[in-house]
Symmetry: C2
Subunit: 368 residues, 2 copies
């Protein structure tokens, strides 16, 4: 393992000191911030998410805030999903695309008011992107990265913890909806969301000076439920079929290839960026699709840093974008981004960078 | 120190295996790639750059390639520096700005042909930016990230090493000019450039499968000159007054604040992104400027991860963006991004995040 060097190019989270106090061991970078990646025992952290409750520093989910008279118009222009039915306090998962229909981010869009939106983004620069489109179209908007840093509470016991903090109204929140709240003077938005399929909430902290306070409030409320620190969990997210933009996608990937076609409304406004290209792709059908891969062998694989080649009938048919040892399935699993010639239930070969060849069986997603 | 976790979101350089073989100890991320940050002895690596020759994996300097009938037009639209005199095989340092005049990158622009340009970028997503502007203006261009990965050879003995590889024509290259070349079948561009003030070259490798080969060719050619591995050097670049975009700038920073006003041609085409805002900023004068800071005390400081507050007369007047122990000046030095009320030769206080207060004297840049 290598060290990560301190630099002012990679910003710290408001929860940084709290994660250090809780024993964080490693980081990655995400949206030019440090993202905690583990506290020393991946398996314990995994089972805590599956059976209990876990708290995650996901301040790296930066917000791109759009305000002003044309805010709603710009939000729709950037998003090939029909937003006309989106209500205030509702969130929607959306696939942002460029003019060629390539997916450039897959944020949650939060509608705070008719003239105020957040894109809660994955790991690419949507701040610059949105500003470019807005300025080129002379829209009357302000686009900033506000002081907002989510803390995720995830797992089957998350509801009990978050209810203990905020009250019973938490139980009435619908999936992806959110509400403004305050705890001990800390302003935040509470959303029923999170990058796992185990249920949970994201607390959108709106005062970066109170990160450690909020972390500790969650920890105290979670104590009866044995809460512990964690982070977006590689194993759970692959088992659950959750996409990691930039890790599972490349610069030619469109939403139809990765199971996000249902978020593309082809009859949306013609002004939406990429909609013409997306209609053409939909009409022709995508060239690749994302499948599950179940690998032979009982030796747990480590997270890899490069895509592996997927072969069938002696030729390359695509890539294995990410793989992991599944603690529940007790085998190595991964995502294939492969030719649509490859079907579910087919045998393929994974060619690792080190020359090792592993047999695998394709399957539908999610795994669990 | 913390570990950096492997992920397919952070791409490896074509030189990765070579840097591991040469004992790389740490990484940062830059343009969503792993960037080597040291080989275990910062002081030796520094003096090697100052007195000898050093080879750096700077594949993280990604290229944004613009080709097509409107390539020259788009290059100028993105760049508030007059490119009309830029010749084929010439490079220019440019300050890319958004529509508000904020600097969003400071690449070298390389003109490969009248219809082919590279922006050799700092750490922000100009691929998306350029595509947004091009598509919104209906320009006839292709914009890609090509298979190009620079290897820098830096230091006073760099010329001898690069000449030994390519021949005496190297000595005739002018600053920022470049020429296509080949060595052992490896295609590349050789440019007289690099992110130090010690002289040197950048070899723009154009075949990612040959990274280790090129690394080893440079190492062999450098052996008589005691070449060794290094990376963009924090100490030398601060002594030399070289900007690190994103480390020394924020989301409100314009070129006039950081000494780049000379690269803004105010009478350039009105279609250039941000030119109107830049003219207004120039007319009103910037609110901040970048100065050198010489800190009291003889205890070498470590690279820091957050900006420190700069105080004068009991109030905050700006930030110290980066600081380092200068091996040549034998004191801690840094960059201040401070109110234009603060003049050269003035005493200020640095308030570190841990509460420590250090006296400092402002000075002109570069330090050396």
């Amino acid at each position: 393992m290598f060290e990560i060097s301190p630099t002012t190019r990679l910003r710290r989270s408001p929860y940084f000191e709290a994660t250090v106090a809780d024993g964080v061991k490693g980081f990655s970078s995400y949206n030019q911030m440090l993202m905690p990646t583990g506290y020393g025992n991946p398996e314990i952290e995994y089972w805590r998410l599956i059976n209990g409750v876990s708290q995650w520093d996901v301040a790296i989910e930066r917000q791109v805030e759009i305000t002003g008279p044309d805010a709603g118009r710009l939000a729709q222009i950037l998003t090939p999903r029909d937003l006309s039915t989106c209500l205030v306090n509702q969130g929607k998962y959306v696939a942002l695309c460029n003019h060629s229909g390539t997916i450039i981010n897959d944020p949650i869009l939060l509608k705070l008011a008719d003239d105020r939106f957040w894109f809660s983004i994955a790991d690419s620069n949507i701040l610059f992107w949105a500003r470019a489109v807005a300025a080129e179209r002379n829209l009357d908007v302000d686009i900033i990265e506000p002081d907002v840093s989510p803390l995720a509470v995830q797992g089957p016991k998350a509801e009990a913890v978050v209810t203990a903090i905020f009250g019973n109204w938490i139980r009435d929140l619908k999936f992806f909806w959110f509400r403004e709240a305050e705890i001990e003077g800390i302003p935040l938005m509470v959303a029923k969301s999170g990058w796992s399929r185990q249920g949970g909430y994201e607390l959108y902290l709106m005062d970066e000076t109170r990160g450690v306070d909020l972390w500790n409030i969650v920890r105290e409320a979670g104590r009866p439920h044995d809460i512990g620190p964690g982070n977006p969990n590689m194993c759970e997210r692959i088992e659950s079929g959750l996409l990691s933009w930039g890790a599972d996608t490349d610069d030619e990937c469109n939403p139809f290839e990765i199971g996000l076609g249902k978020y593309i409304d082809q009859d949306v406004d013609d002004d939406v960026v990429g909609i013409e290209a997306l209609r053409n792709i939909a009409a022709q059908g995508p060239k690749r699709h994302q499948l599950g891969l179940k690998l032979e062998g009982a030796t747990p694989m480590s997270p890899h840093a490069v895509w592996f080649d997927v072969y069938a009938h002696g030729r390359k048919v695509g890539d294995m974008t990410n793989g992991v040892w599944s603690y529940r399935m007790k085998q190595n699993i991964g995502f294939g981004l492969v030719s649509t010639d490859i079907e579910i239930g087919q045998n393929v070969e994974i060619h690792k960078e080190d020359g090792q060849v592993i047999s695998a069986l394709t399957c539908a997603l999610p795994f669990i």
